[in-house]
């Protein structure tokens, strides 16, 4: 699915102290994070119904008397000036005290803590599969661009990239779950609890869905990156210097071609947690995506705030990680005393 937001690979920054550079990036992301936190803080206050809806369904709220409302407002500080409320909010974020869910009264932090590992398992497995398959095909497609197969694979990638995730999930359920009964279609564990086999079985269909729909994009990205590196001057010159083709591809093409792909995949990981909403919903997988969707559907504001926080945090962290790891792969992004 095209829910991936690829950012342009960070342009190498030359002639700047490495620490200053990294420090600058961290500060930039911190700023973005603070803005995102602010949005998150304002969210329940901005949506219809006002902040009191943090404490119950509309029906319950309607039954409250004016005194009771006032009491809740004082108790939770809604009467306080907005900046004090914001500080309180920041404090609660830092201390991971995210309140309790309105729908089932659970501690939000605990609910997220339960869901997060499942999402990480699901997303992690599918990212590994997508990356391996997508990059392999992309590299081959880039090398064999002139042959008919190259164009065929490209069209194939476009088709695969166009299938809606939820529809593919349905088809997989129909065939593998219902008709042939090969794989379970529901939940993350079998009736016998957490066994490795059970976990793996329950991963098959959701991971297949995420992988198949994710391959096309990585394939096309890798392929076009390969093409531009293959026609770049350093590679043309290496060819002229008599470096044989196999060695040329291995040593001179692959690494520069995969540099932007690395950034893409890092960002992808950040977004997949949010992108897994559909898959987790269809397969009733108990991860963060399903938790988020459930929270929105039930208008469970504390839970919503909590899950949004984690989702945004993941994106920002992966962005930061992409920036921090890039210099390890590209010497041009490294500066300072390595001469």
């Amino acid at each position: 699915m095209s829910a991936i937001q690829a950012s342009v690979p960070a342009t190498p920054v030359a002639r700047r102290g490495r620490l200053t550079f990294l420090g600058g990036r961290v500060l930039e992301y911190l700023a973005v994070l603070i803005v995102a936190l602010t949005l998150n803080f304002l969210l329940p206050r901005a949506l219809p119904g006002g902040p009191l809806k943090l404490f119950g369904s509309p029906e319950a709220l309607a039954r409250l008397t004016a005194e009771e409302r006032a009491q809740i407002a004082t108790e939770y500080g809604f009467g306080d000036p907005i900046h004090l409320q914001f500080l309180d909010y920041l404090h609660s974020v830092v201390t991971l005290d995210l309140g309790t869910s309105l729908s089932d009264g659970r501690d939000v932090t605990a609910a997220i803590g339960d869901a997060l590992p499942w999402t990480l398992l699901l997303v992690g497995t599918s990212i590994v599969a997508t990356t391996l398959i997508g990059i392999t095909l992309g590299v081959i497609g880039g090398i064999r661009r002139r042959e008919g197969k190259g164009a065929f694979t490209l069209t194939g990638a476009i088709v695969v990239d166009s299938i809606p995730q939820f529809w593919l999930a349905m088809l997989l359920i129909v065939w593998f779950g219902v008709k042939w009964q090969i794989a379970p279609t529901f939940g993350a564990t079998g009736p016998d609890g957490t066994t490795v086999a059970g976990l793996a079985q329950h991963l098959v269909l959701p991971v297949a869905t995420l992988t198949i729909t994710g391959i096309g994009y990585i394939f096309m990205y890798t392929r076009s990156s390969m093409l531009s590196v293959l026609t770049s001057e350093p590679v043309q010159h290496a060819h002229a210097r008599g470096i044989p083709r196999g060695r040329l591809v291995r040593r001179h093409v692959l690494r520069p071609a995969l540099l932007p792909v690395h950034t893409l995949i890092m960002l992808d990981i950040g977004f997949l947690a949010a992108g897994a909403i559909v898959v987790e919903t269809v397969f009733a997988y108990p991860g963060l995506g399903r938790l988020t969707f459930g929270a929105i559907a039930a208008r469970d504001y504390p839970l919503m705030q909590g899950t949004f926080l984690v989702l945004t945090l993941m994106v920002v962290l992966m962005n930061l990680l992409a920036d921090l790891t890039y210099p390890l792969l590209d010497p041009r992004a490294r500066t300072g005393g390595d001469r």
Binding site: V13, A14, R15, R16, T20, F21, G24, E233, P234, Q236, H237, A238, H239, A240, R241, G242, I243, P244, R247, R251, H252, R255, P256, D330, P331, R332, D338, R339
Partner: protein, 571 residues
Amino acid sequence: MTLSVQDITVKYGGRLAVDHIDLEVADGEVAAIVGESGCGKTSLAHALVGLLPPNAEVSGRGVLRSDRHPALDLGALKDWRGIRGRRIGIVPQGAMSGLSPIHRVETQLREMLTLHEGSSEPTDLLERVGLSAGELPSYPYQLSGGQRQRVAIALSLAGDPDLLIADEPTTGLDAVVQGKVLKLISSLGISTLIVSHDMTGLLPYADRIAVMYAGRLAEVVPVTALHHGRHHPYTAGLLAATPSTDRSATWASIPGGAPAIGELPTGCCFAPRCPIAAEECHTEQPLLRVVGESEVACHRMDVANTATYPAVPRATSACGSPVLTMTGIRHTYRSRSRTTIALDGVDLEVGRGEIIGLVGESGSGKSTLARIALGLIRPTAGRVRLGDDEVTGARGQRLRALQRRVGFVHQDPYDSLHPGMKVWSLIAEPLVIARVPRGERAAKVRAALASAGLPDSLLDGFPGQLSGGQRQRVAIARSLVNDPELVVADEASSMLDVSTRGGIATTLRSVATERGLAVVFVTHDMGEAIQSCDRIVVLRHGKVVDAGTCSQISSSPDHEYTAQLLAASHH
């Protein structure tokens, strides 16, 4: 080792790019193939090393003989393993940007040594090209352009080749560095074939020069014989078209332009541009024959010494009142990480009818200064006056009104003309912008076109149909059309062939004289400035290091840097 090129022909989809070339490179000799863009020199070199694109058809032989290896026919070779890098070392065009960006110099050298079974050490290779072992752990981006070119040469030497082929080894380097790189190549003691567009730059370093024109050899001449005896009119033209730093020498240009691939005229390809062409030149193709020390393909060698080309005229009148006055110009570029001082207190005054040469190498700030004069960049400090009007601080309508009094000729004739506009609209654009009444436009456009030396017949064409020289003339016509007081020409000839550069300078001189224009001529070529300007200002690192009349600068430069530039540019 010898290389014997026999009857090599290259066609692209049936269109002839290289036409039956024979050439010998003797043991230890530095031979050069010289010619202008599109003459087939690169195709010839690529044909010898199997690097032509797949749509090219090659025929003929290129026999490589050496006492260490069996003889080899490069023309018939299909499998290039063990040839490139080992028997023939290649320094590709644009080698500075062709090093692997992600490997250290040492790694790259070791790769070539292992691959081509070289016997030396990376340090030895670096020493041979004049670099210290300290550069071994560097990445290419940490080296200067000249250093990278040296590393590229070192890489080509790793396999201890019999023959070195260097394709445009000086392009993109500053003049001073160009000489050093060529000197290095010629001192390696290997048989070398250099491909270049810059004949005079090669003279001190090459042994023999093969001049190509439109896919054929015009002349093959030992360098020692180049300045005396009889030569092909094209060779003589190229020599005359290269601006000398000696003000007493004249600078000429060859009229017209080279024919395109696939549109070669019958007979001698050069005949349409040749000042001494006779009837037989248009019908019969001349063959190479020995004339004195050289081989020349020309029917008219008996009268070859009478060939003369139009010279670039000098100033005839004294300059008038100041048009552009710039005082104390400072400019700094600020990025997030650092500030660069592009200009640091520059003064400049240009009067009516005067051409000022603004000379400097890359990074000298000359282009920034030109853009400040055009009102495109606002200087950090300093004053700019156009006539009696203050440009500094002008914004919006007032700035645009001032800009309409200045013409601009951009460096790049290919990108500076909107590809979707016809020549007529291109030239008329300043009039439309300045809201000149419709009725007056036609006369102005025709007058400007004539001043720029172009026929009316081009008005209906698109720039895509024009040659580089014609395009630049369209750009000049556009800059003149609204009767400006000042024209700024930013490296206006740098992307053109040598033979047509003088033509642009001639045009600028004639408009300066006829229209009483002030001209700022930005260039990196000291010779060109000395030949075509009245006064020269030499910029370095954003400061004026030298200024004076052309004769002062050329005969007695004040500053050591000016002397270096003079020494580096043409001899």
